[in-house]
C-alpha cells in the first residue's frame, strides 16, 4: 500500500537506492561482464539516475567492489553452514567445504564476477585481501589446526592456503563451463587425502 513518492527518512532512502543499484549491477555484471555493462544500463535497471549512482559510489569501480564483497560474503556463509559446527576430522571439513564451495559457485554469474572480472578489475592483491577477510581465513585456520593435530603434513601455511583455493576456484570455473563436478571432486579428495 506504500506510495512510490511517499516520504521516507534519508537513511531509508539511501538504503533503498544503494540496494537497488547493487542488485541491478550484480545482475548485469553477472550476465554481461563488467566492461560490457554501462552505468546508464545499470541505473535504468535500478530505476534511478546516474546522479544517484555517482552520489552513493565514487565511480563504477566502487560499485563493482560492493558487488564483489557481497558475493564473497554470501559464499563464505554457504561454506560455513556446509561445513557445520562440530570440528570432526580436518579431512572431513575439507571435503565438506569443497562441496559447499562448488555448490555456492554453481551460479555461473557468480563465477564470472568473482573469478573472471574480479581479479582483472580489482587486481589480484585487493581480491585476495577480500578473500582473506571472508572464506580463505576459515580455510587457513582449518589447515593450521589440522597441521598442529598432525592430521596433515606440515607445509608453508600461506602458500598451501593459496594453492588449495586455486584448486577450488579452477574447479568451480570448469564446472561452470560444463565439466562434471564429480570428476573435480574426486581430484580434490585425492589431493586432500595425499596431504596426510
Amino acid at each position: 500500500m506504500q506510495q512510490k513518492n511517499e516520504s521516507r527518512s534519508n537513511k531509508a532512502r539511501t538504503e533503498a537506492t544503494r540496494l537497488a543499484l547493487i542488485s541491478a549491477a550484480r545482475r548485469l555484471f553477472s550476465e554481461k561482464g563488467y566492461a560490457e555493462t554501462s552505468t546508464p544500463e545499470i541505473v535504468t535497471a535500478a530505476g534511478v539516475t546516474r546522479g544517484a549512482l555517482y552520489h552513493h559510489f565514487e565511480d563504477k569501480l566502487a560499485l563493482f567492489r560492493a558487488v564483489v564483497r557481497q558475493e564473497y560474503a554470501a559464499v563464505a556463509d554457504e561454506i560455513t553452514t556446509a561445513v557445520g559446527e562440530q570440528p570432526g576430522s580436518a579431512l572431513d571439513a575439507l571435503r565438506d567445504g569443497s562441496r559447499g564451495y562448488l555448490k555456492a559457485m554453481s551460479d555461473k554469474g557468480r563465477v564470472r564476477i568473482m573469478l573472471l572480472d574480479g581479479p582483472a578489475v580489482l587486481g589480484q592483491s585487493e581480491l585476495s585481501q577480500i578473500d582473506r577477510e571472508t572464506s580463505a581465513d576459515a580455510l587457513r585456520t582449518g589447515l593450521s589446526e589440522a597441521m598442529d593435530a598432525g592430521h596433515i603434513q606440515r607445509l608453508p601455511l600461506e602458500a598451501l592456503t593459496v594453492q588449495l583455493s586455486a584448486l577450488f576456484d579452477r574447479a568451480a570455473l570448469a564446472v561452470s563451463e560444463g565439466d562434471d563436478p564429480e570428476d573435480h571432486l574426486r581430484i580434490l579428495d585425492a589431493i586432500f587425502a595425499a596431504l596426510k
Copy 2:
C-alpha cells in the same frame, strides 16, 4: 643505413606494422592492463595510426588475442626446453615443468596478460582453448603416460590437467605479488609426490 621512407614490399610492410603493433600493445597491456590501454596510445607507441591498427586487426580485442597467443607460445617454449628431451620419470618432468613455468611467468606483465586480463577479456573457454593448443597439451599427455606407466594413480585425466594447471597459475600469480617461489614449489612437489 636504411631510410625510414625507403620503399618496401607490401609483405614486409605488413609484417613490420603488425609486429610493431603487437609489440607496443604487449608492453602497454602488461603495464596498464587491457581496459586502461587505449588504441590511440598503442598506435602512438608503435609509430603508426589507428587506421593501420584497424586495417590489420578486426578490433582492439583481436589485437589482444594476438598478444595472448604470442605469450602462450613463448611460455610453452620455455617449459619444453626446461623439461628437456629425455623422458625420465613422470615426477621429474612435473617438477622440471613447474619450475620452468614459474620461471617463464616471472615477468609480472606476462602474468597480468595471461592470468588476469586474459580470462576476463577473452573468456575462460577461449583461453583454455589456447592453452590446450600450447602448454596444457604437454601436461595432459605427460600425465596420461605417467598413469599408463603406473607412476601416478589413475584419475580423471581432463580434470586433473585442469586442476594442476590451476596450481601452477596461482603459484605464478602469488609469486608475482611477492610470495616466495620456494614455498609454492614445496607445495607443488608435495602434491605431485602424493599422486603416486
